[in-house]
Amino acid sequence: MSGTFLGMPSFPRAAREAVRDERLRRNLRHATHTIRDKRARAVAELDDWAELREAGKRIKDRTLRHLDTYLLELEERVTAAGGTVHWAEDAAEANRIVTGLVRATGEREVVKVKSMATQEIELNEALEEAGIRAYETDLAELIVQLGEDRPSHILVPAIHRNRTEIRDIFRAEMGRWGRPAPDGLTDEPAELAEAARLHLREKFLRARVGISGANFMVAETGTLVVVESEGNGRMCLTLPETLISVVGIEKVVPTWRDLEVFLQTLPRSSTAERMNPYTSTWTGTADGDGPDAFHLVLLDNGRTRALADETGRQALRCIRCSACLNVCPVYERAGGHAYGSVYPGPIGAVLTPQLRGTTSEIDASLPYASSLCGACYEVCPVAIDIPEVLVRLREEVAGRGGKGHRLEKAAMKAAGWVLDHPGALAAGERIAGAAGRLLPERLPGPGARQWTDHRDLPDLPAEPFRDWWRKNRP
C-alpha cells in the first residue's frame, strides 16, 4: 500500500524530513517562541485590540466587496500624481511588464525591497533570464539569495537559519556578489547586520532602478505604503530614478484614515513592535524628491479566483504580518519549505490553494496541513477564520475525489452508515472490544499504520457505554 491513503502527499512527506532535522527544529522553535511572547505583550498594551481587529476586518471586507471601484479610484489618483498604472492578469504578464520597464531604462541591475508579490511571480528568475540582475536588499532575503535557498517565512524568510549558519553563508558567498564579508566576521547579530550594511551600500548608491511591493495602497489619495525595519526599503524607494511597485490588487484600502487601524495592528502583529522603524508613503512622483518615474503593476494572479469563493475570500484580508505562522504548532515543526509556496504556515495553507488551485499534489495537501487548533485565527489582526477556510478547501479537495480520496470517501460513507445505524454500531463496538486484546502493537494498513507507527492503542473496553447503560439503567 502506498502512502497515499487519506491523501498522504507532498506536505506530509516534506514535513517528515523537517521534523527529523534537529537543527531546523531548534532554530524554528527558538525564533517562533521568542516572537510569540513578544507579540502577546505588544498586543496586550492596547486595550482596544478587539475593536481594532474588527475595524480592520470590516474595512478589508468592504474593500473586497467593491474592489473594482477602489482600484479604479486608485488608478486615477496614481496617474494624476505622475505615476503609470499597469494591470497584470498573471505572473507571466507581470514579469513581462516589469522586464520591459527595466529594459527601457537601459539598466542591467535593480535593487529590490522585500516583496511577497514579486516572490510569488518569481520576478528575479524572469529578470535573470532577461539578463537583469536583481539584488535582494532585505537582510533575510539577502541570506536566502546568497545561500541559493528558498524563503521559509513571510516576514523573516531566513528564519530556518541560525546566526552561525548566516555567518557561514556571508563568509562564503558575499564575495561572489560584491563586497566580501569583513575579515574575522563572527556570528554576533550586530556584526552580521553590519556586514550586510557594508555589502549592500555600494549597490544602493549606484542603483538606478528600484523594485518594491507595498503593504497598502490608498484609493482616495493614490498613496502607496511600505512598512519596513532596516532602511533598505527607504534606499530602494528613494535613491533610484525609476521605481516599479508590484502589488496584489487586494492591498488597496479605501481611505487615508483607514491606515490608522493597520499601522497599529501590523507592527504589533508582525515584529511585536509599537511601530516598525521605518514606514514610507508616496503618491506618484514628487518634484526633486525620490524617483522621477513611478510604475505601479497591479497583480491579479489568482486573487479574483479567491474572491469568488464566499468562504475563502476572507483570506484576501491578509496583511502579511506572519502572526499565524509564529503561533502555529504545525509550522513550528514542519518549517516553511514544506508548504511548497512563498506563503507558508496557516495563511499559506489557505492562500496558496486558492491562488493556484488544488489540482497539484502539494496544493491538494495544504488544506490538511493543520490540526484545526485555531491558534492562527485567535492572533489574526484581520480575523481570518483560517480553520473555516481550511475545512472549506478540504471539501473542494475531497469532493473531487482523486488520489487517495476515493478510498477515504468510501471509508467515510461506510462509517457514516454504521453511525447512522446504532445497532450495527453496537455490534461493531462489541467485536472490536473482544478483538482489541488480541491486536499487535503496530497495525498494518492505511490509517492504522499512520496511527500505530507513533502511538500505542488503548486497551479496548469489554463493552461499549451503551451496553453498560442498558444493564445498569434499565
Binding site: W451, R455, R466, W468
Partner: protein, 238 residues
Amino acid sequence: MRVALFVTCVNDAVFPSTGVATVRLLERLGVEVDFPSAQTCCGQPQFNTGYRRETAPLVRRTVRAFEGYEHVVVPSGSCAAMVRHHYPSFGPRAAALGPRVRELTEFLVDVLGVTDVGAYFPHAVTYHPSCHGLRLLGLGDRPRRLLEAVRGLELRELPGAEECCGFGGTFAVKNPDVSAAMGADKVAHAVETGAGVLCGADNSCLLHVGGTASRLKAPLRTVHLAEVLASTEEEPWR
C-alpha cells in the same frame, strides 16, 4: 433536573468509563440522566475532513435524538463545539440544538452553579485544555475551578498548555510525523511537571497523548476530567 447525555462515539466505543463517570457525577449532584439510544456521532470527523455531505445524516440523527431536551451534556469539548459552531450551517433545526448543548464543565459551572462537586482524587494532576474547548467554546477557567475544589488533588501548571497536542482528528493520520512530534512535546511538558496524571476534557486528545506517552514509555497516565470529578473516597478512580 433532567438532562440528556450525549456520550459521543469515541467515549461510547473506547472510553465507556468516561460515560459511566459522567452519569455517576451528574446523579450524585441530583441530576436525572437520560441516554437517548438513537445517538451515535456528531459528525465532526467527516465535517472536518471535508465530507460535508456525509456529515448531514449524522447531524440529522443527532438533532432528532436530542431535540426534545432542554439540556444536553457532552463530556467532550470538540463535539460540543461541532454542534454549537458548525450545526447552524446545516439549517435552523440543527442550529436550534446549539445553545442547548453544554460541555460538561459548562453544565456544572454555569447551569448547576457548582465548582465543588465533592470529589476526592489524591494525585498530582496537570491539565491540558484542548483547543476546541479553549478557543471555540471559551471554557476559560471552568475546568481549573472544578479541579482546584477536588480534595486531595494537587494541580500543577502545564508548560505550553495552550498549544495543540497534535491530535486534530484525521490530521493524526494524514500528517503523522508532525502530529507525533506535537504529541511527544505535549508528553514531555506533562512529564516535566512531575504530575503522573494528565487530565483533559476531550478523550480524543487523550487517546493521542496517552498513546504517545505509552509508546515513549513516559511515566504518565491520562484521565478524563469527568472521571476525576466522579472519583470519591467510596468509589475512587481505578
